[in-house]
């Protein structure tokens, strides 16, 4: 068993262990035995385990995978260590569209929501692309533009929430990202997108490796770089947007997970992608578990916890970054 498989196995096992722990912890803590029994046979705790905690865990894993893969694709194409869907304003755009459609039109069909979010994500991406196209800012400056755009979109969300006051926890979903009140209904609109886009990003992995050698080398090795850029960025935007449509703008996962994966397994995208996906899932899942258990029965938004972790890491990246 080589090192890579070991890392893969370890993170997979960690994810399983964490899921089980997350199933058993909460306002009402349950023994592991009860948890296993209930998952398999149902019973007295059926509602808590199977209707409340299990869907949340599955959603946090899916969302973590989506955000992480999106981050890998974004960083692979833009080749900027500070790039990630949430720092580029893509999550912000998706969040704004999803949130405003929900508040203005509350009966919106849940399958439609990811589409609306994707529309928002693409609008934000297009805005960034326009700014980049006409101004050619340096990579660090581009990161700053992305952050400013996402700050603008966040204040738009803030504004809309003031116009349509909602309950505190739902407001927090859109302001910082949270898995509060998410149940099975939210899994089905999310799942098909991931089933299509995650394998597709594996298909792109090889070309991403080549494009890391520089555009000219990649072209001479048979990669259609323009097509690659469009495909990879579109899937990145779509993945981030559908995740945001479900649980709001959980920050820094799309930044952290690819970096951690690259640190663990080196620069090859085929190797990075699974590890990044698992790391992202671990991040979101542990943030959600903590958020439910720090001060029960109150709930913290998971996005607060990922920000507490992610912001220091971002500053660490700034330290190492040399391309000013």
């Amino acid at each position: 068993m080589n090192r890579y498989n070991k890392i893969l196995a370890i993170s997979f096992v960690l994810l399983i262990i964490l899921s089980v722990i997350s199933l058993s912890l909460g306002v009402k803590s349950l023994t592991l035995e009860t948890v296993f029994n209930t998952v398999i046979n149902g019973g007295d705790e059926d509602f808590i385990i199977n209707q409340y905690r299990l869907p949340r865990i599955i959603i946090s894993i899916l969302v973590g995978i989506g955000l992480a893969v999106s981050g890998v694709l974004t960083q692979g194409i833009i080749r900027n260590p500070l790039a990630s869907p949430d720092l580029m304003g893509i999550s912000g755009g998706a969040g704004l569209f999803a949130c405003s459609s929900l508040l203005i039109w509350p009966e919106v069909h849940s399958a439609l929501l990811p589409l609306i979010a994707i529309l928002g994500g693409f609008s934000a991406a297009f805005l960034i692309w326009l700014l980049n196209h006409f101004n050619h800012p340096s990579p660090a400056r581009l990161a700053l533009v992305g952050i400013a755009v996402s700050a603008f979109l966040t204040s738009c969300i803030n504004f809309i929430l003031v116009l349509h006051p909602v309950e505190m926890n739902s407001a927090m979903i859109w302001l910082t990202g949270s898995l509060w009140g998410r149940n099975w209904d939210y899994i089905w609109p999310l799942l098909p997108w991931l089933i299509i886009l995650v394998p597709f990003s594996f298909y792109l992995a090889w070309s991403l490796d080549l494009s890391a050698l520089g555009e000219e080398t990649a072209t001479s090795l048979g990669v259609n770089t323009e097509r690659l850029q469009v495909l990879a960025l579109s899937s990145a935007v779509a993945l981030a947007s559908v995740s945001v449509a479900v649980c709001g703008t959980i920050g820094f996962v799309g930044l952290l997970a690819p970096h951690l994966a690259r640190l663990l397994v080196g620069p090859r995208h085929k190797l990075i992608l699974p590890i990044a996906a698992l790391t992202g899932a671990l991040l979101v899942l542990s943030a959600d578990t903590l958020s439910r258990n720090l001060a029960p029965p109150l709930e913290m938004p998971a996005g607060v916890l990922t920000a507490v972790l992610g912001a220091p890491y971002f500053i660490f990246l700034l330290y190492r970054y040399k391309g000013w």
Binding site: A148, V149, C156, V162, M172, E299, V304
Partner: protein
């Protein structure tokens, strides 16, 4: 002679325009948008022939006047704080919001007021001051502001990261202390809704102190614009100058945050407006930046009350909606 040097006619004009804009915003926010039908006349009469039994005048005197005054002074404070920071760091993007000074003050104030971690029985102002110091200090330390090859962009990016971190922490604190959360959530994005005369009396003494310190740094800032070494060789005690500037910025920002929460981006926009009108002499820039900030907050407050009439939008959201596009513009422009 000196006076004509300080106030050339063109600049005098721009200051005049600024004051007019400010006054218009001020007066409009005194009578505009109310459940009662207030009119300009009521404002006029309040000052000319004060009638104790007139309900409209009473409303203006007890609700609107403190609010508008507070809005103006907070804008003034933030504008000056931004100007001082931009002068000190020679970084056009420096401002209390982006260097996490506001959010540091807000974070500690929230902690303190919810008594999650009561800090030694200090007053709100002192707590906000410590918070502002912590936020700004962190940004400078972590963003490499002390090293010799400091980089403007790195400093800003570090500031934004710490700003995000502190805002998240504040939100977490708010949620744990659930019962007071919603009003604090409003305060957290900068709101002038609960202002009365007591906030005004809390605000003005420290603002005056801050303004006094800020004025004393003008000459130093003018010379500092030529470069630190030049300034030192021209007899400026650079360390002492820095200390005074930091003190002024911290006082001005923290008192504003204590009263109205972190009103975003005023400290970024106001100095740029002032610079485009008044050149680069800090003796002129200081009042101009202050007045622009005051006008900005007054107008933003007026807008915030007009959007959904009976309810109020936090004024910080309005300034953020104006400020972030301006911020993007500055980033893109700064390349050249």
């Amino acid at each position: 002679m000196t006076l004509s040097f300080l106030f050339p006619p063109k600049k005098l004009m721009s200051v005049f325009i600024l004051i007019t804009v400010l006054l218009m915003g001020f007066v409009c926010s005194l009578y505009g948008q109310s459940e009662f039908s207030l009119r300009v006349n009521d404002v006029w009469n309040l000052f000319v022939s004060y009638d104790k039994s007139n309900i409209n005048q009473q409303i203006i005197l007890s609700l609107r006047l403190p609010r508008s005054l507070t809005a103006a002074v907070i804008g003034f404070n933030l504008g000056i704080a931004g100007l001082l920071m931009q002068g000190l760091t020679r970084n056009p993007l420096a401002s209390p919001t982006l260097f996490a000074i506001s959010s540091g003050a807000a974070c500690l104030t929230a902690l303190n007021s919810l008594t999650v971690a009561s800090i030694g029985g200090l007053s709100n102002e002192a707590v906000a001051f410590v918070g502002a110091l912590t936020g700004g200090g962190l940004v400078f330390l972590l963003g490499g502001g002390l090293s010799s090859n400091q980089n403007a962009l790195r400093l800003i990016l570090a500031g934004i990261a710490i700003n995000g971190l502190l805002t998240s922490l504040t939100r977490a604190v708010l949620i744990i202390a659930d019962d007071m959360a919603y009003s604090l959530l409003h305060w957290l994005s900068g709101s002038l809704s609960g202002i009365d005369w007591s906030s005004w009396s809390q605000l003005w003494p420290l603002s005056l102190l801050g303004l006094f310190i800020a004025t004393s740094t003008c000459r130093g800032l003018n010379l500092n614009a030529l470069g630190e070494q030049t300034a030192a060789s021209l007899g400026v005690n650079v360390t002492w100058l820095r200390i005074r500037i930091c003190l002024a910025v911290l006082i001005l920002t923290s008192i504003s945050v204590t009263v109205a929460g972190p009103i975003a981006f005023v400290g970024l926009i106001a100095p740029h407006l002032a610079r485009s009108w008044c050149g680069s002499n800090h003796f002129m820039l200081l009042p101009a930046a202050g007045l622009s900030g005051a006008a900005l907050v007054c107008w933003a407050d007026l807008v915030s009350r007009n959007i959904i009439p009976p309810a109020e939008t936090p004024v910080g959201i309005i300034t953020a909606l104006i400020g972030t596009p301006f911020f993007i513009y500055l980033i893109l422009k700064g390349k050249r």
